[in-house]
Symmetry: C2
Subunit: 329 residues, 2 copies
């Protein structure tokens, strides 16, 4: 049936909620984030507990901002970057709501939105929350090195975003419509540099975007923005090159959440990454721009690198995935 | 809307495929498993690669046994126990098919079946594969201790099953119908003993089972079997006690995949666990009994413990979940 789903009932994102760290709030999203942290520990004793608390906060916030009580929500779809997605599972423990754990690394925001929209469009549920997040310090010590070691970062590395974003998707009410989704395939171009996620993920983003245009018959101009998750500056450039080679020019309207989240003077050359990156940008800045009418139609393509320290340690390359969601106002 | 979904179009499991290790095949499933390993390394150089190969094998097997080509499959829904679900992601890399990664620990078989059935019943897809697996040696070294250390196991511990199971779910053809599902909530009774998963998971299984009966108005007798995933002998007993205290007697028709998978003389006192446990038992033994008409209606309740070594190391208790799927012939 192809990879592209159409949601005929047009489930809507009726409310969102976001939390972001101190560094993140210095950039473009600072004015749009609901909860700006003054302390990246968020009052907790460990980075992992802080990450979990952010996720619980945005799930709770999305429900409250949508004017619902917790007991009215039918399902939470969530995942994160930590081993066994403990942030999502432990956050869900606070809610007496059915829970579907998903894992798509940094593609989780798009994956959870697509699953939520499918469950609503299929008529199974009225109100579903999709949420994800990440924390710089928990990701560093799990995927790379403990911060205490003071390791240097190579220039192709990205900075994992401290932040979380949640969306309440409903079959009623006013909001941003989810009209379709293109679920991605796992794509592996043989990149083995775990510090160069942008290069690894760009081919997956390209595959999903080109599939989307081929299956829908649309041109890139159909969208005000084609927003990728966290390719960063280098990955974003690779994506544009790859698409252009295949005859699709997305240079005019492509932006990458990783590329825009930090201020240029912060010297994060490649920008942000992490499941929280696209989750925060979408659910704060982009959602606000869509609700105000400044953006009417965007293709949101979150990208994920599906590696682990074990797979990389065993010499494997990095399989990646990208899921696309069509958002319309 | 409650936690229980009804799949009116009755998506069907039209084919299954299973792989199991040497120890596993000595028990009841030995005669029903499609691929019985003579070497638990499955010809690979690492445990993780062996686990991934098992998963790829059953995805491929389910598609082939269903008479389809890989290009006819619309979606793979899969997950496993390893960090970042690398077995599922790397297995999906071999297939040019859209992929949804899920994480529900040992509840993954039920979670993936429910998601697959929802995507088919919602009219989005024709053919979806749901699959999961686990490997004793990869789980031991990730969750507990490397085998080389020769650590002893406490009597309440279970043995992670080496095996994988996959199911092809279609909107056409003959097979075992998936008529409903009850998606579980995260339940945490405060158990902190990581060697006593059965005790941790039993309350989650009880919550989902009681919710299922309350929402459907059915009695336990409506099912030939109420099959839990991997509570083991102790957890299974706790579940029966908890349900009985709440006025629901499931003792007459409850079995647990973990309790039945190993031969009694193997001295695995609590039995098996792992995502592969219920996946293998369901897709070999139980599927065969349903297709032959010996079992007509079962409630398949896979249970998952949503901990990580980090969460336990930080003193957290073990949140658990159970998803139930109604299977009818």
């Amino acid at each position: 049936m192809g990879q592209t789903l159409r949601f005929h009932s047009q489930p809507k994102i009726v409310a969102t909620s976001t939390v972001a760290g101190t560094k993140e709030c210095e950039g473009i999203i600072g004015r749009y984030v609901e909860t700006a942290l003054s302390d990246d520990m968020y009052g907790e004793s460990t980075f992992e507990k802080a990450e979990c608390k952010m996720l619980a906060r945005v799930i709770d916030g999305a429900i409250a901002n949508g004017g619902l009580g917790r007991e009215e929500v039918d399902l939470i779809v969530s995942g994160d970057l930590l081993n066994q997605i403990i942030s999502a599972s432990f956050a869900a423990r606070d809610f007496s709501v059915p829970f579907l754990g998903v894992y798509g690394a940094c593609s989780t925001m798009a994956e959870s939105l697509a699953v939520a929209a499918a469950f609503i469009d299929g008529g199974f549920y009225h109100h579903v929350v999709a949420a994800t997040g990440s924390h710089f310090a928990s990701a560093e010590r799990q995927y790379r090195y403990p911060l205490e070691l003071g390791c240097t970062r190579p220039p192709q590395a990205q900075w994992t975003v401290t932040g979380a974003g949640g969306a309440l998707i409903s079959d009623r009410g006013d909001g941003v419509k989810i009209t379709g989704a293109t679920l991605g395939k796992v794509v592996d171009f043989g990149v083995t540099d775990v510090n160069n996620m942008g290069a690894a993920m760009a081919p997956a983003a390209c595959d999903t975007i080109l599939t989307h245009f081929r299956e829908t018959g649309l041109e890139p101009e159909a969208y005000d923005l084609i927003v990728t998750g966290d390719l960063g500056a280098l990955g974003s450039r690779i994506l544009k090159d790859l698409a252009w080679e295949k005859g699709v020019d997305i240079t005019a309207n492509h932006v990458d959440c990783g590329e825009i989240i930090y201020k240029v003077i912060e010297d994060e050359f490649q920008g942000g990454s992490g499941a929280g990156c696209s989750a925060v940008v979408l659910n704060s800045y982009l959602y606000s721009k869509m609700m105000s009418g400044a953006l009417r139609r965007i293709l949101f393509v979150a990208t994920g690198a599906l590696l682990s320290t074990v797979s990389s340690g065993q010499g494997e390359s990095i399989p990646c995935i990208a899921h696309a969601v069509v958002l319309e106002r």
